[in-house]
Symmetry: C2
Subunit: 346 residues, 2 copies
Amino acid sequence: MSKLFVDACFGKETPYTPVWMMRQAGRYLPEYMAVRAEAGNFLNLCHDPKKAAEVTIQPLDIVGVDAAILFSDILVIPDEMGMDLSFVKGEGPRFSDPITNEADLDRLIGAEAAASKLTYVYDTIALLRQQLDARDDDIALIGFTGAPWTLATYMIEGQGTKTYNICKKMMYSNPKLLHKILAKVTDVVKRYMEKQIQSGVDVVQIFDSWAAAIEPELYDEFSWQYMVEIAEYLKEKYPHIPVIMFPKGIPAFLDRVYGNFDVFGVDWSTPMELAKEKLGAKYVLQGNMEPCRLYSQEKTTEAIKHIHNVMGGKRHIFNLGHGILPDVPVDNAIHFVRECQRISKH
Amino acid sequence: MSKLFVDACFGKETPYTPVWMMRQAGRYLPEYMAVRAEAGNFLNLCHDPKKAAEVTIQPLDIVGVDAAILFSDILVIPDEMGMDLSFVKGEGPRFSDPITNEADLDRLIGAEAAASKLTYVYDTIALLRQQLDARDDDIALIGFTGAPWTLATYMIEGQGTKTYNICKKMMYSNPKLLHKILAKVTDVVKRYMEKQIQSGVDVVQIFDSWAAAIEPELYDEFSWQYMVEIAEYLKEKYPHIPVIMFPKGIPAFLDRVYGNFDVFGVDWSTPMELAKEKLGAKYVLQGNMEPCRLYSQEKTTEAIKHIHNVMGGKRHIFNLGHGILPDVPVDNAIHFVRECQRISKH
């Protein structure tokens, strides 16, 4: 059975424009909070296939989205490469041993060895595959990864950062080391995504959440080329699996986007008109309602109509332009999903 | 005497392209840290005209920039409107009494009454005017303010924010209150900038540091129109004073920039080529080296050459595309300034 969402990723006509939300399995859902509390903490939840599958499915039933996205975290990759990941309450992820030199990098395991350790992710996917196949709806399962650059920022800074100054110092004074890190992560991600596909995902998305931290002149060199390498590796072996690229915050140089993939994720800082003009002929576009519009049902409907008018109901997937925030009322998330489906219905 | 920097702001030909750096009076300078330590804390330093003037002058002598920018903080405005500002060490500014409703706003004093309280700023400017006039160089003094939107984010959130979710909730569900706040701040800023001019600044810059927090569709409504209102108020009364607008991070919709002002500040996320194409005919452009390039002298020179080539030495002021970071070596800042002056020399 061909799935609505997969068809849309390939630009085929669908009865309506499918919709999902970044972070749809997240803190705005009391049901998610309950499972997370049972798990004890966020990382435990990622490591527990049964619970991870449960929260992955929740938004399908509660919010009515057209695709499920694997519940996991992008930082499980460096964690399994040998770094020491923890989550500090209220402060986010921490690595106690950031990479400062080649020796730090050489201590990490690469490619197949690292990707093989992420068994809890593949187990989650296998479980989801069974559960989704047993349903009478038509829901696609999206696997994902962080882009090598986004992962590297945490591996180098040891935590989230506002200024990226440690990464930037490396970028401008020791670019060779940064490239070595990016290449090693890229090799792990290729194998990781391949194993996600073999375990049963229908679509994959590569999140470059910190794309906007790189100056336009250097974005291809330090991030995009690695994302394209991953996408093209997957497209060659698994052409039936759509690849979605989501580099957040690069409206200034959409002209420079290239590569073999299917869907370009448009963040909310990029007007849909601009994305359509620059990329709409080459790629299906996904996005891009400003997630804070979810605070108002009226402003949500207004934005959906605008985006739908720009895209004309073609070569488009509805989504937010960034993750849903924890304090959004569930009813407003439901309203968003229903309105996307209603307004785009042929 | 007409100043090199003022000439450049008006697009006149100058012997070389003048240069200054955002945050040039800042933590990367040991001499600044010494004065700040004497003052006790950051806010005391803002309140002490003698010390504030001293740190304003420091980068002229140490780094060799072509313009001085008043040392102050954008948040002295809401502080003098009646909010309670403090700086929490390592965490940044705090207001203990954020605005949540009309009554909170009505308690604040407006326009002339608030602007009159900022005497320490005007005293600093008057002192600087004397000191600069006594020098045999040709240094312009830049006054500044935060844009109403940027100020409002702190007044509403009570502190810096990653998600702006309290402001956004207001923007989408109670836009009337947000406009009321913005209008009140705008009235104070108009009078504040006017008094800065009367005290002796040669140029003014309006910083919209959090411009990128607003979706493109709404940027004019919630920020730009207020900035233009301030600029046009000043240009009408003081046409000889150049106005610089710096909305950080709006490369996606430069087409929508309008208004009577002189210089558009280009942040580093916006390629200079794009800014020139969209705005170069209407405004002089200021910027835009990625400040982290200051970690490497080689990469600094490379960027300066690129920017200079794009602008062709015309209708341009060199600057960073955002503030200089505290861990930049002073020698590299000196290198930046000298290279801008050397490379652009006729």
